[in-house]
């Protein structure tokens, strides 16, 4: 019927139908109003063309009831659309607790993904159908944006912070992954595929990637190699906070503020340790800025998060 011409993107995630309902409702509203106004303007243009015999008595150039009516109607419609979009949007904030956490890293001009089991892939992301997946995004250089049209999700990967995007694939298949934030020369080459697979196929795929260390184990090795464990574990020479169970809990700071030990806090504490020092400790930790790249930082964060029981995560 469509002669091979695409009119709408595939729907392949649990979010897609909800977004599309709103989109098509807006489309219907837009066309209804647009056609009404076009008919009005064209109708008047024909009826009241210069010299036409139409009756022109009863003309007026203002009408308080009419103006109040359309202003109110516009307000009501606008706020209704706002509320609908807002409710759907806030769902983005709360991924299901059992979601698989995958570390995504953007760099000029490729995507790199690390699965919890340590499997690494470039410009492809394999996910199981029917299971929520959270991709925690970081960037090695400039701003990139993780965009999967078939899932109706998009999230910028911003250097210096971690952002998140989650989705549940509903259809097996290969779906475009685009970088949506202009990032330089080969921006349009920073594309890849999200491959959604049946859970058993996904398990088999993970198996085929070989069983090395998990992401958290890779982080733990790094934790030792960089010497973090020298102070943070059973040290007698230097006193540093024990990191078990820190993630997801409030931390009292030396400046008598309290912050939540989330990814932002852990990341900043590695790169700028003097900024938010935990209460009761000397600010002696050196900065690891420039010593660990974003990918290694993701491994360290994965390890630190594995030290907290799952239900404690924010």
């Amino acid at each position: 019927m469509s002669f091979g011409i695409p009119f709408a993107p595939e729907q392949a995630s649990s979010l897609a139908p909800g977004v599309d309902h709103l989109f098509y409702a807006l489309l219907a509203f837009t066309f209804a109003l647009g056609i009404f106004l076009s008919a009005l303007v064209i109708g008047y243009s024909v009826k009241y063309r210069a010299g036409s015999p139409a009756d022109r008595s009863g003309e007026r150039s203002r009408s308080a009831p009419l103006e109040i009516a359309w202003t109110t109607a516009t307000l009501v419609v606008a706020f209704a659309i706002f509320a609908w979009g807002a409710v759907l949007f806030m769902g983005r904030e709360h991924p299901p607790a059992d979601a698989i956490e995958i570390a995504g890293l953007g760099k000029q001009w490729m995507w790199q993904f690390r699965h919890p089991g340590g499997q690494r892939e470039i410009d492809e992301l394999h996910v199981p159908v029917g299971r929520a997946v959270v991709v925690s995004l970081a960037s090695q250089d400039v701003i990139h944006s993780f965009f999967v049209p078939a899932f109706r999700v998009k999230q910028d990967a911003v250097p210096g912070r971690t952002t998140h995007v989650w989705f549940t694939a509903t259809e097996p298949g290969r779906f475009h992954l685009f970088c949506a934030e202009y990032c330089g020369t080969e921006h349009s080459g920073m594309v890849g595929w999200v491959v959604a697979m049946q859970p058993e196929d996904y398990a088999a795929w993970l198996e085929r990637q070989g069983s090395g260390d998990t992401l958290a184990q890779q982080g733990e090795k790094l934790f030792r190699a960089l010497g973090c464990s020298g102070c943070h574990e059973n040290s007698t020479a230097v006193r540093a906070p024990d990191l078990h169970g820190v993630y997801g809990r409030p931390v009292a700071l030396a400046n008598s503020q309290t912050v939540m030990a989330d990814e932002r806090y852990l990341r900043d504490s590695i790169l700028q340790p003097a900024r938010e020092v935990a209460a009761g400790y000397e600010p002696v930790m050196p900065s690891f800025d420039g010593l660990v790249d974003e990918g290694e930082l993701q491994m360290l964060l994965s390890y630190l998060k594995s030290l907290s029981p799952k239900e404690a995560s924010p």
Binding site: L26, T30, Y44, S45, T71, P159, A180, G189
Partner: protein, 537 residues
């Protein structure tokens, strides 16, 4: 209509010729010409870039130009069109020419500042053009950090500095307009007797004066970080990349209203004139311009829903964006109702104005999709956004610019042009525009990202339509260049008031004398008192 026999009265055009008389003039009407010539050059330069972009995108592979060249093309297209055409377009040309005439003044409040603004504009835009010739800039017109400060290997500092300089010219024009409207209105011309064009110029000038300094600050911070390594935006230097987006859009969203309010002013003059009816709901239209100018400052974060900004900030910005939609909707309803029970004539400028009405409406309605948070997540940074802002900026503002140039051309030049060619151009532009940009809405919904040099083949159908439309659109814009060019030298002499319009600018001769009015006009009633007594029954 006055018949003139015997001695030709003195006009501003005849007051001394030669480059010196034009380049050192302080007459607002001649400064308007200086701007018109410069802006026309920039419009066709930016347009040529657009044609190259569309030709490249006619095929999925990036085969016409290299990726680096493509990035430079869309960057300079955006920079030229936004800062060297759209922002000054109607204010610096029609506004400069008409504002004093419409309020019965002899000139703007600060004539020398007006001329100075043109030189600053030429110097700044020339500086940026130099950066293009020297090797180009590849950051997009948005200069997002840290790409622009730490990663781009192009002439970012020069380009940004040029835009920084041009900002001063914008501020000068803004101050001049504000003071002029406050201080130089003719006796009897109270605020609610002002033509809507003057109201929109005033609202635009306020935004220019309040928003442009923030742009200046953010561009200077880019140069400081890029040249001296002072960490502001780059996280590697302890900065925050989102800070730039906040600063940039704090200017650039209000700037969107700099780029549309004047167009709203133009059509608010033309629709009543060719309908022979007063503007419907004058007070609401006047105040909605001010509401747009004020609310326009509070919605910048709707460019950043997926940037990592807090979701709660996203909620607030989405809500405020719907608030700013309301005054725009009110205007559309009022313009439509103005036609009711009129005696509608379809002259060239009226066709352009009706085209504006349609294109602005369909551009504005697309804004409802973009402000809806969950939908924006999908269409943000896709061709949907590209289509939306081209409907407003090109379909809206450029169409209104064409409408205004044709409407006041007899007053500006004292010559008439070919209505036939004008009407054909207006229709060709409308069709070409829709063919170019409507397919981009579909592309955006399909998920085609912006600023892609090459794209997957399934998007090709809509890209080919869009590229074909660009050819038609280019034709539509070239036609007036020739028909108005012919009119300037060969067109029949224009009467003082060819359209039987109200407004003080039509009370003086065409073209006006150097000091606009032989005696200061006195205003005794509201604007748009159509139909005129001489219209007959």
């Amino acid at each position: 209509m006055s018949e003139r026999i015997g001695a030709v009265p003195a006009t501003y055009m005849g007051e001394g010729s030669g480059p010196r008389a034009w380049l050192l003039t302080t007459d607002h009407k001649r400064v308007a010409w200086l701007y018109l010539v410069a802006l026309t050059v920039f419009f066709f330069l930016g347009g040529a870039m657009a044609v190259l972009i569309r030709v490249e995108l006619a095929t999925p592979a990036g085969d016409l130009v290299s990726d680096d060249a493509y990035d430079r093309l869309f960057s300079i297209h955006g920079i030229i069109m936004v800062w060297f055409f759209l922002v000054p377009s109607i204010p610096a040309t029609l506004g400069n020419f008409l504002l004093p005439l419409m309020i019965g003044a002899r000139d703007l409040a600060f004539p020398r500042l007006n001329l100075a603004s043109w030189y600053v504009f030429i110097f700044g835009s020339g500086f940026t053009l130099y950066s293009v010739i020297a090797g180009g800039v590849d950051t997009g017109w948005t200069f997002y950090t840290p790409f622009s400060t730490m990663f781009s290997n192009s002439y970012v500092s020069a380009a940004a500095f040029g835009v920084f300089i041009v900002g001063f010219s914008t501020i000068m024009t803004g101050i001049n307009f504000i003071v002029t409207v406050h201080k130089l209105r003719a006796p009897g011309l109270t605020w609610f007797r002002l033509p809507i064009f003057v109201w929109t110029m005033y609202a635009t000038a306020l935004v220019m004066v309040l928003a442009t300094p923030v742009l200046a600050a953010s561009l200077i911070l880019i140069v400081l970080e890029r040249v001296f390594g002072i960490g502001v935006f780059d996280p590697g230097l302890g900065g925050d990349p989102l800070l730039f987006q906040h600063l940039f859009w704090f200017y650039s969203h209000p700037a969107v209203y700099i780029m549309i309010l004047p167009g709203m002013g133009v059509v608010s003059e033309i629709l009543p004139c060719f309908s022979r009816r007063p503007l419907f709901g004058y007070t609401a239209v006047a105040l909605s311009s001010m509401a747009i100018a004020i609310f326009g400052f509070l919605v910048w974060g709707h460019h950043m829903f997926v940037s990592g900004q807090s979701a709660y900030a996203g909620l607030v910005f989405s809500f405020l964006s719907y608030c700013v939609a309301i005054p725009s909707a009110i205007k559309v309803f009022n313009w439509s109702l103005t036609l009711r029970k009129g005696e509608i004539a379809f002259e060239t400028s009226m066709l352009y104005a009706l085209g504006f009405l349609g294109l602005f409406t369909f551009g504005g309605l697309a804004g409802l999709f973009l402000a809806a948070l969950a939908v924006d997540v999908h269409v943000h940074d896709t061709y949907f956004v590209v289509a939306h802002f081209h409907y407003i900026m090109v379909g809206g503002m450029v169409t209104a610019f064409m409408a205004g140039i044709h409407f006041w051309w007899p007053k500006i030049t004292g010559r008439m042009y070919s209505e036939t060619w004008g009407r054909i151009a207006a229709i060709v532009t409308f069709l070409g525009f829709n063919l170019t940009f409507f397919p981009q809405y579909v592309l955006g919904f399909l998920g085609m990202p912006r600023r892609y040099h090459a794209y997957p083949p399934e998007f090709a159908f809509w890209h080919i339509l869009s590229s074909a439309g660009a050819v038609v659109l280019a034709l539509g814009y070239l036609m007036p260049l020739f028909s108005l060019g012919w009119s300037l030298f060969r067109g029949p002499r224009a009467p003082d008031n060819p359209w039987r319009a109200t407004g003080l600018e039509w009370k003086t001769t065409s073209p006006p004398p150097p000091h606009n009015f032989d005696e200061t006009p006195v205003v005794d009633g509201p604007p748009y008192r159509y139909p005129l007594a001489e219209d007959g029954a």
